[in-house]
């Protein structure tokens, strides 16, 4: 239990950092900044969640998987709230129009719905029934990675690193499924 609490505190650090940057120091472009921090955190935690699943036979951290996954969803929620409240300024019609019109935005929104589904069905009572559908996390990983790359005007080393991690996860999973890799 204690370890779970430490984990929660660590997972809250990006939020503390974000709030510190926004309200104690000055951030030039706050809306963009909220997108960057919450988005990168959500994506990193998503990578971490799948890594826990894939490596469970080598290192068993499975009991922390739900907490990490849940926090990925938490940061995705903040990301979404930033979109609806600050960026779209609560104009829901505009938010929907933008979603339908722009691949960059609908890829992000589809990924969010996948995470929402996983968050709801991760409760103990539902998980046994739905866990087999939780493979959609790989779809979410692909979509969010593409969405993340599309948010940039040009690709820099940082984005390439995210893409590389995504590539490793996808290839690793494929090798694992096809029994070439026995971990």
């Amino acid at each position: 239990m204690n370890k779970q609490l430490y984990l929660v505190l660590v997972l809250l650090l990006p939020l503390v950092y974000l709030l510190y940057m926004l309200f104690v120091t000055e951030v030039e472009d706050p809306i963009k900044y909220i997108y960057s921090i919450t988005g990168a955190t959500a994506l990193t935690l998503l990578y971490l969640t799948t890594s826990i699943s894939m490596l469970k036979r080598a290192v068993n951290f499975i009991k922390y998987r739900r907490t990490v996954g849940w926090f990925s969803f938490f940061y995705a929620c903040l990301h979404m709230l930033n979109f609806v409240i600050l960026d779209m300024e609560l104009d829901l019609a505009l938010a929907i129009e933008e979603t339908l019109e722009k691949p960059f935005i609908y890829l992000g929104n589809i990924a969010f719905l996948i995470l929402l589904f996983m968050a709801i069905t991760s409760q103990k009572s539902l998980f046994s029934k739905f866990y087999k559908y939780h493979k959609v996390i790989y779809v979410a990983i692909l979509l969010t990675s593409i969405h993340f790359v599309m948010a940039q005007k040009a690709l820099s080393v940082d984005q390439w690193i995210y893409l590389l991690i995504m590539g490793i996860i996808v290839i690793f999973k494929f090798l694992q499924r096809s029994k070439i890799l026995n971990i």
Binding site: E26, E28, D29, E89, L94, I105, A151, L155, D158
Partner: protein, 319 residues
């Protein structure tokens, strides 16, 4: 006995405030006052206060439109200058050792008087003036900047373009020793040197401005020292920085961003709230330092000065 008798109005030594403290008394007072307001307020005060002391002589702009200026700190700490880094916050620290003097500019192509001119001489050729311009980045953020410089048209008239000159092409310095992103062998963000261009009538428009300063001070390297273009009715990427070459041509040059992503960035890049970027809307903008957005204006609010140049053009196609 020889001693100096204190006058009765004299205070004992230990009543005297230390000179160092005395000199900093205003700072101390401000700090106290700001602390009383809030912690965020202190940072705000510190951020808004720093402006280097002016070192340029120029004609002040009265700011008749009453635009609210962004702080020097904001303008000089959030920069798109890919030659240094694609991360806007990393540009300033990486640019600190940039050598912008001596600096030579080559003006060539279809002109009567092709020249190579040193920056120092160029600065003396034209009287400097201030222009308070809105600046709108294609990414959706904006700011208001008090530039110092001279009209591009003055320079163009000086070199006398030939009648065949239809476009003006600008090139940024190529120097991998100074620009880390030009030095990379892989994962290079853009193709260098950076190139931008204008149609002749656009270049001659009185709004087209060569900036050599900011807030009355010579440009800091991260903002494009020693000389850059500022085109307030166009997206920021047209306002090319650290210019070394200006060439007059008869055909439309291919600008860097159009070459990189022709579906997303065109030759004109006029600010237009009705034509979206394929990935995001251009209808509204995020002013630096603010949580709330504001409407983007047609031609960034300079419609009266520039709209006539684009009459009859389909701005959806020629974005």
């Amino acid at each position: 006995m020889n001693y100096i008798k204190s006058k009765d109005w004299e205070l004992p030594e230990n009543f005297v405030t230390d000179e160092r403290l005395f000199n900093e008394r205003r700072k101390f007072l401000k700090l106290g006052a700001a602390l009383a307001v809030s912690t965020a307020g202190v940072m705000d005060l510190a951020a808004k206060e720093f402006v280097p002391s002016p070192n340029l002589e120029y004609l002040k702009e009265p700011n008749l439109q009453k635009l609210t200026l962004n702080s020097y700190e904001q303008i000089s700490s959030y920069n798109n200058f890919y030659e240094f880094s694609t991360n806007k916050k990393d540009v300033k620290p990486l640019a600190q050792n940039f050598k912008s003097a001596p600096w030579r500019i080559t003006i060539d192509g279809l002109v009567e008087r092709p020249i190579q001119i040193d920056m120092e001489k160029l600065m003396k050729k034209f009287p400097l003036e201030e222009r308070i311009y809105r600046f709108r980045c294609v990414e959706g953020w904006s700011m208001v900047v008090p530039w110092v410089g001279f009209e591009l048209s003055h320079l163009i008239k000086h070199v006398k373009p030939l009648s065949g000159a239809k476009y003006v092409r600008f090139v940024t310095l190529y120097d991998p020793e100074q620009f880390p992103d030009q030095k990379r062998s892989s994962f290079v963000a853009l193709e260098y040197p950076y190139i931008e261009a204008l149609r002749m009538d656009e270049a001659m428009n009185p709004l087209a401005f060569m900036a050599t300063g900011l807030y009355g001070h010579t440009l800091p390297p991260q903002n494009g020292a020693p000389i850059r273009l500022t085109l307030p009715w166009k997206y920021g990427f047209k306002s090319i920085k650290s210019i070394v070459r200006i060439t007059f041509t008869d055909s439309q040059p291919l600008n860097t961003w159009q070459k990189m992503a022709p579906k997303e960035y065109g030759f004109y890049a006029n600010v237009n709230p009705h034509v979206d970027h394929p990935r995001w809307s251009q209808a509204r903008e995020r002013v630096l330092g603010k949580f709330l957005k504001q409407n983007t204006l047609m031609f960034n609010g300079y419609e009266n000065d520039v709209a006539h140049m684009y009459k009859g053009m389909d701005l959806r196609k020629l974005f």
